[in-house]
Amino acid sequence: MNKRLVIRLLGAIMLIEALAMLPSMLISIVTHDGCVQAFLNTIAILCLCGMPMWLLARPKESNLRAREGFVTVALAWVILSAFGALPFVFSGMIPNYVDALFESVSGFTTTGATVFANFEGAPKGIMFWRSFTHWIGGMGVLVLTLALLPSMTGRASHLARAESPGPSFSKIVPKMGDSAKILYIIYAVLTIVEFGVLMLCGMGPYDAAIHAMGTAGTGGFSNYGASVGAFDSALIDGVITFFMVLFGINFALFYRVLTGGWRDALKSEELHWYLGIFTVCTLGVTLLIMPQYGSFVQSLRYGSFQIASIISTTGYATADYNLWHPAAQMLVLFVMFTGACAGSTAGGMKVVRVALLSKLAGREVRHTFQPRKVQVVRFEGKGTDENILAQTAVFFFAYIALILIGCFLVSLEGKYGFAANFTAALTCVNNVGPGLAEIGPMYNFAGYGPFGKLILSLLMLCGRLELFPILVLFHPAIWRKG
């Protein structure tokens, strides 16, 4: 293990986090919310820890092997969350550090699960920071590092692979640094467009910024207890629904559209699956909740918003689906599993894995009665590597196992019933936000104890980094030499 390189990279990450706090501090200064000191203290601590790590760790070689890549990514996320929690504590908004950590992890992993019950009069700078963590966490901090400091590491592909969602990472242009830059530019432009459209729909600039960042990162923090429902505007619901679906699409497709290959982009098989699942589930939910809301249009408004919010793992709410038809609740749970496309800012298992697993299952069924048939699993028009298929199957097992173990551990607290505990584990691993019953869209996670919150934080990190980078940290061989 090239420990110095890891330390140096982590130092860089801390400095970038300090930099990322500046916009929030600016909001604090402008709005006089009294939290400037909280930010200043955090930035000072970050610089004091990060600067020596960055300057003094002189790696003998800049070669980043798979093990360093995974360890760096995992530790970077732990560090980010740990320090990102400090402004909440220093400002006195969440005095308990474990609560603040939960909030911070939830922000960076774009989960959007919160311990806040009361938002009235919350300091604007702190609320902005909370949403800003979504924005950074959505595309990834190491991707940002690669965009800013492309020359820092020799082989960066391990970093991007560990952080980016999806079974295999594919660059959009030959150079990793350039790819990272292009992704961030697309991301920023789309976020600004959403911000503008929300302003046009009548939101104030502050609300628009918070919700644009929450949508872009597919996070789900709102500055209102009733989430997007607080605006009670069909127009705003529609706009946010559209953007939530949009941010669940693979960003490589946006690049293809930009370079003139929109026909090509529309042919993407994953996109078809994603939009297909979205459409079918929306229609299902709409029909199931029609008796409750009366008109089809009204049901479609709430149904499509909720499915878009959950499939893109954002977690905004305009309605309390705890009160919906049980079958509609099941559809919500189902899209919680699938998540959106690989290469987007969304969490979940990813549509591509669902598609591959379905095809794999179909192949196995056929294999039982026609064992000699050679079957290649085709995806996006190409045969899929058997290694990737095997990895996908293993991923699915690890994913289910993690949810079950997490659910068990959370249940040890004995606070809530099965529905709440199971969906808490599920929603955290998938980085969605709300669950069912006591942690439904109109409630929060404040009821869990410190142990439960730590477990859920770990689940969120595991989910965001797609399990293996975090699990790698617990494997003893990673820390050995050689």
């Binding site: 798979a66 082989r155 960066a156 592909s157 391990h158 660059k171 242009v173 030959p174 150079k175 990793m176 640094g177 350039d178 590597d385």
Partner: protein
């Protein structure tokens, strides 16, 4: 530049690695999943699995916008087809590896019709390199700069050599009449040193000196190294390199013996090369070598397919007192170890092909902006020699070198002005239009202004 490399075998991988390190946008196409994965893991390039002669794969890789396509698959035909299709799609410059001697005869026609701008024949290029070594047998390595006007020659310093043990700045006082050459670089126990005036050459150092051809020759005559003229050569293995090499050196009046283990091949060679003494037998057999008079040879060149056998037989030839031994070894990274065993001249067709292609890429690059005229990797890539042309607008023009700030670890090696070679001293200056060769230890220098400042 956007560069496409089709076929990531040994050469393709090495080229992609160098180009990616030089900040080009590289896309690699290979048919094998395994190769694609390995490249994806180790290099910052885009990888595409597919057949490089397939138009849709080439389009996916962006062949229509490519500045250069380099085809280095195992098959000549595929390489030519790749270039043909890529050029039709809009690629600007095509380089193909073509190694079959059959194609070599009609190469000009093929190149024109297929749109191949540069055809590389690794075996021929290697043979050319070896023939140069035979012309200067005292050198273990030779590089030509500035259109061949400047030669940089590497030799191993021995205890008895006059230049050993004297600081470089005093050599001219102590040794009257020694020709004025530049001590460009020294390799000592595996690391590269760019020497200054206080540097003292020790026995065993691998010294690189640069000057024009005549001066170099008189310099080595002064050192008493030029006494050997190669007249009799024995080659191990009758492969393509041996064939090309024999064709090159027989007209120079060199007598060639060649061992070949395959009877049919030996017969064919004997027919194609009537002046060559073709011996049918196992050239790694010491009995056979002794019988054919290995000990009386001026040079022994081991060129069979297996690197290990080349090394072993090469070492045997050194033991038998053959003054010049050249071995082919394609495996990079072992040069230091092999040198330590007493074999000085190692040729690697892979490295030669790679260097050849990279030189052309850099020339193309020069046409589109960056200023390196030519770049040579020295000492296994530990140092680089770069050739620039000074522009009138450059700030260092006309100022004596001693008044300029030159980055440490950099040496202004030679200045070529209107065809005349100058080995510069502190009072010399650079004029606009001069070809300037500098030596640096790190890579990535792309402009003379980066290393020389007012």
């Amino acid at each position: 530049m956007h560069i496409l490399v089709v076929g990531a075998g040994k050469v393709g991988h090495m080229i992609a690695e160098h180009l990616a390190r030089e900040e080009h946008d590289v896309t690699v196409i290979d048919r094998s999943d395994e190769v694609v994965h390995r490249i994806d893991d180790t290099l910052d390039v885009m990888c595409i699995r597919g057949n490089g002669a397939n138009a849709s794969t080439l389009l996916e890789a962006g062949a229509d916008k490519a500045d250069i396509i380099i085809a280095t698959t195992a098959s000549d035909e595929t390489n030519m087809l790749c270039c043909l299709i890529a050029k039709r799609l809009g690629a600007k410059f095509a380089i193909a590896r073509i190694r079959d001697p059959e194609f070599n005869e009609s190469l000009a026609l093929l190149q024109r019709e297929m749109g191949i701008d540069l055809a590389v024949n690794p075996e021929r290029a290697t043979a050319l390199e070896i023939s140069r070594l035979l012309r200067f047998p005292f050198a273990s390595n030779i590089e030509a700069f500035a259109k061949g006007r400047v030669e940089m020659v590497e030799f191993r310093a021995l205890e008895k050599d006059a230049v050993v043990g004297i600081p470089l700045r005093e050599i001219h006082h102590k040794l009257r009449g020694i020709p004025h050459v530049l001590y460009a670089a020294v390799e000592r126990s595996g690391s590269a040193i760019i020497p200054n005036g206080d540097f003292v050459i020790e026995p065993g150092d691998r010294v690189h000196v640069a000057a024009d051809m005549v001066t170099i020759t008189t310099y080595f005559r002064y050192l008493g190294k030029n006494s050997l003229r190669v007249k009799d050569v024995m080659m191990l293995g009758g492969g393509r390199i041996s064939y090309y090499l024999a064709r090159m050196i027989v007209p120079m009046g060199i007598h060639v013996s060649m061992t070949e283990i395959n009877e049919k091949k030996a017969l064919d060679l004997s027919e194609a090369l009537p002046e060559v003494n073709v011996i049918y037998g196992d050239g790694t057999d010491q009995e056979l070598l002794d019988q054919e008079g290995l000990a009386q040879m001026d040079a022994f060149i081991a060129l069979c397919d297996r690197d290990e056998e080349n090394l072993m037989t090469g070492l045997y030839a050194v033991r038998q007192g053959v003054p010049k031994v050249v071995v082919k070894n394609n495996r990079g990274g072992y040069d230091d170890i092999i040198n330590a065993m007493g074999l000085d001249s190692i040729v690697s067709p892979k490295a030669i092909t790679c260097a050849y292609i990279l030189r052309y890429v850099r020339q193309r690059e020069n046409a589109t902006g960056t200023r390196v005229e030519r770049l040579y990797k020295l000492m296994d890539g530990k140092a680089e020699a770069l050739e620039f042309i000074a522009r009138p607008s450059d700030p260092y023009v006309g100022i004596p070198l001693k008044d300029l700030t030159i980055r440490p670890g950099t040496l202004v090696a030679v200045i070529v002005r209107r065809g005349k070679v100058i080995v510069p001293f502190g009072n010399d200056h650079i004029e606009a239009g001069d070809s300037v060769v500098i030596l640096v230890r790190e890579s990535g220098v792309s402009d003379l202004n980066e290393v020389i400042r007012k």
